[in-house]
Symmetry: C2
Amino acid sequence: MAPILADNSSSNLPERDNYVNNGFGYVKNPHLDLLSEDILYHFDLGTRTHDLPSMFGDVKFVCVGGSPNRMRDFAIFIYQELGLDGDGSDITDICAGTDRYSMYKAGPVLSISHGMGIPSISIMLHELIKLLHHAKCRDVTIIRIGTSGGIGIEPGTVVITDIAVDAFFRPQFEQVILDKVVIRNTQLDQKLAESLLHCSKEIDDFPSIIGHTMCTYDFYEGQGRLDGALCSFSKEEKCEYLQRAYIAGVRNIEMESSVFAAMCHLCGLKGIFL
Amino acid sequence: MAPILADNSSSNLPERDNYVNNGFGYVKNPHLDLLSEDILYHFDLGTRTHDLPSMFGDVKFVCVGGSPNRMRDFAIFIYQELGLDGDGSDITDICAGTDRYSMYKAGPVLSISHGMGIPSISIMLHELIKLLHHAKCRDVTIIRIGTSGGIGIEPGTVVITDIAVDAFFRPQFEQVILDKVVIRNTQLDQKLAESLLHCSKEIDDFPSIIGHTMCTYDFYEGQGRLDGALCSFSKEEKCEYLQRAYIAGVRNIEMESSVFAAMCHLCGLKGIFL
């Protein structure tokens, strides 16, 4: 198999996409089709124990967010919006066998929790993408709906991410593979973002903008909060940093956007990040 | 306030501990004592809404692990071991108002879930350390009990971490503070580790060792797994990497040890990592 980096002696090079695509789907892993069984550990699902095509073959939208309770509420909301039988209140957690993530299905819409932070959403995305592969899903759109802190915008404003940037305002995600670092593209689907912004204009009092989203590994020191257990900077240093972020085009900060954008981009999965 | 780095133009310097300590406790944040109210957002607890000294003042041990269900089971086990009233099965989640973390108390022992990955456990540790500060707890020991993948050891072996290393086998944790990177010490309490190893010898068939623990940001590509949605390396490359890890003293891999060790070290909190 070709190495990811043209020159293994250098790190931090932009990644060349020489992954092997497994047919029509989103997976890029030639080892996967050789497995007699694929276990999606953190969903408590597997190719031998579950009929994934019949369970998930009709999925067209996947909505993800941090909190399990919120993703259950969202699934019930969608259930009712789609006019499915009943009120959706008896919807069950498909991942009930584990407490790592929660997953609900309302017609063609999956609603899944991803926990907090890049590593947590990354595990979920790997297993979700494999699930879509095994279930032979096509033309899927994944939408992340989550909380974030705004920068220089009115509270309540929805920021539709065009690109995720890191704590240094760089539009990239560093993925460690074994002990190599590769740089991944964090651009999201611009047409989808604009289409969603257009939809938001049809609703009164629903302030929405398109902007850069900064993704950090830390909620307290990494986002300039003065109320963590540790803090070594002044209020002035915090404000100066956030002003620089604003000038760089950052409109909100959160903790999952960069790996979400990078994996969508690499796997050819249409993604929206809110 | 003094900057963290002597020379702000350089990054990746070892951190000089010039944090300001708030009295006797574990917190190092001079802003905290100026707040009229401190809200521990992700625990759904606060200094105005809860009497933290009366709720937590007697805490001497905090046990943490990824899964909420497992930490509930552990709290019930400890409840029974301590011979407290009843069988502990009616123990309630102190953080029931949120689904970010779960927290149970059995006498002087707190049992808390931390989710998956460095960012998730980091938020929990910030709020836990503030909780211990507000509750005026002293002489607390924090013990992490979690799952990990062994390297070159018998399955079932408990690895007591002496030091956490990163994916490049470096004994350090990189903390981003605003847009500065500081390098933190990831050494854990050696006497505690040895004392725990000694205890394990008193139990039959309880294989335990002391070793380095490698902490990664990713479960699939970062830990050399061949069954993720993305994989660009061969089985041979994976094995070669794990062999190098073993030679560097790594005996297990998981996703939270480095920030756990770094925060314990910096805050003066006695920590054990399993």
